[in-house]
Amino acid sequence: MTAKKLSLKEKYSLLTRDLDWEYSYADRKKAFPYEEFEGIKITDWSKWEDPFRLTMDSYWKYQAEKEKKLYAIFDAFSQNNGHLNISDPRYVNALKLFLTAVSPLEYEAYQGYAHVGRQFNGVGARVACQMQSIDELRHCQTQLHAMSHYNKFFDGLQDFRKMHDRVWYLSVPKSFFNDARASGPFEFLVAVSFSFEYVLTNLLFVPFMSGAAHNGDMATVTFGFSAQSDEARHMTLGLEIIKFLLEQHEDNVPIVQKYIDKWFWRGTRLLSIVSMMMDYMLPNKVMSWKEAWEMYFEDAGGALFKDLARYGIRMPKFSEVIEKEKEHISHQTWWTFYNYGHAAGFHTWIPSDEELDWLSEKYPDTFDKYYRPRWEMAKKLEAEGKRFYTKALPQLCNICQIPMLFTEMDDPSQICFRDSIYEGERYHFCSDGCKTIFDDEPEKYVQAWLPVHQILQGNCGGPELEKILSDFYGFNVGADNMDMKGSPDEKRWKAWKGVA
């Protein structure tokens, strides 16, 4: 007689729930000391569901198959000198930003899930965190492999770890994950599994990766989509986590809402670099940041919050500001990097005339009024041989660590600026969203490592800017930074393509 084949549900139960055991000699509360630390009340861990019912045996099987396909494409890309088939060498600068700003976050997520996976009393949650932890490590590795090919031919990809730890603008993604990992286990899950994975990774991995395909970069689109198929599982889990917390006890609702408010705001701030990658750094464009935002935040996120309303959960605080920002943030961010192109680890440029027209078409209410005139001025200065770089150090927001570059959304000519006093010291913020986060936990954020403050205190190898860039950040000054026009990257590209 052949053994009866187990259904997915039965197999899932055997290979997850039944792995737990009773503790005969230890107090369970002492074994899971962080579980009550945030005030979250869990009454029944068995209600935790993993809707995909993935067990380790099928996980390894399908992940191995995904990896085989992925590395076959990396090999083909490399054998075929795939870097010569990209649309334009400017595109590679988006990858430099990706490698230094995003890939280290995957590693942080891997460490974060490995940590919180130990903290939950429920076995379903522990198994889910374990798989996600392995996924995140895989993402970091595949991203490094995909981009290592470019490192042979383009500047700026040589030392992502050192750059992530030290470079001023990379403190933005770093502080996001440091903040999440320094939180309790449930806040980490709401931050990363729910706010970041469910709504925000789509904006990074879907339209941008479709854009990578549109620019001839098969290596990047392949790791992007392969990673996002894991994210689809993570998102599903993120939604289950929220439902689980809300259904366990009504006292959890205000705690979860506060986490959602905080992490959606931090997430939208973090994505400002993705907005400029979409609108300014992809030479062949798929959709504008605004369109992507409407599709994945407003429509998809809106559906989600409508569904969660029955628990008493509302849209994240400051959603009305977030809605206005979609018109502005890509332009304000890229303009700032253009100004600080001498202190970036990648090249910047003025959009071509066709690109300016595309931006006017995509942003009819704001681009010609507020942003085109700046680029026309920059073009005129450049033509006169006066490409300018801002000399001053920027004021940073104490929460998101982004320079004060965002404006009041109802008055884009006015920089937005807020402050709070804590124990006699004044702290500065880019927005009401960031100020609210600080005011709730000032003792946490007064410890923030702010790159500009550290430079001024002499902790970054200063005082000369060039020494900070070369010795402390690890840039090849004159090759990695400054304008795309006239850069070694551009010269090599022209030589490969046989154009003067």
């Binding site: 997915l8 809707p51 399908y62 990766m209 479709s210 689109v221 599903t236 798929v286 998809a300």
Partner: protein, 89 residues
């Protein structure tokens, strides 16, 4: 009712899956972008193992979907025969 959606890599396997989805969800909208196919529908979307198997001409495990999946939106209900996406409101 809000829209649920699924995005698949534009590869050979996906073409059969998309065809099966279109057959089982006649009201669904299929959108082609570079390297990906996005399918959305009001409220609910079903992927049925039997339909995919008929079109593909071979056995197909519902979890093979992970090989072509990019992203999705909606609550997920998975068993041996189908994967359903839905919203409650």
């Amino acid at each position: 009712m809000s829209k649920v959606y699924i995005a698949l890599q534009d590869n050979d396997e996906s073409r059969y899956i998309v065809e099966a989805i279109e057959q089982d969800n006649p009201a669904a909208t299929v959108i082609h972008n570079p390297a990906m196919i996005r399918i959305e529908n009001e409220g609910r979307l079903e992927i049925n193992r039997h339909t995919v198997e008929e079109i593909m001409g071979r056995e197909w495990n519902i979890q093979e979907l992970h090989l072509s999946l990019i992203t999705l939106g909606g609550h997920v209900e998975e068993d041996d025969d189908s994967l359903v996406l839905h919203w409650n409101t």
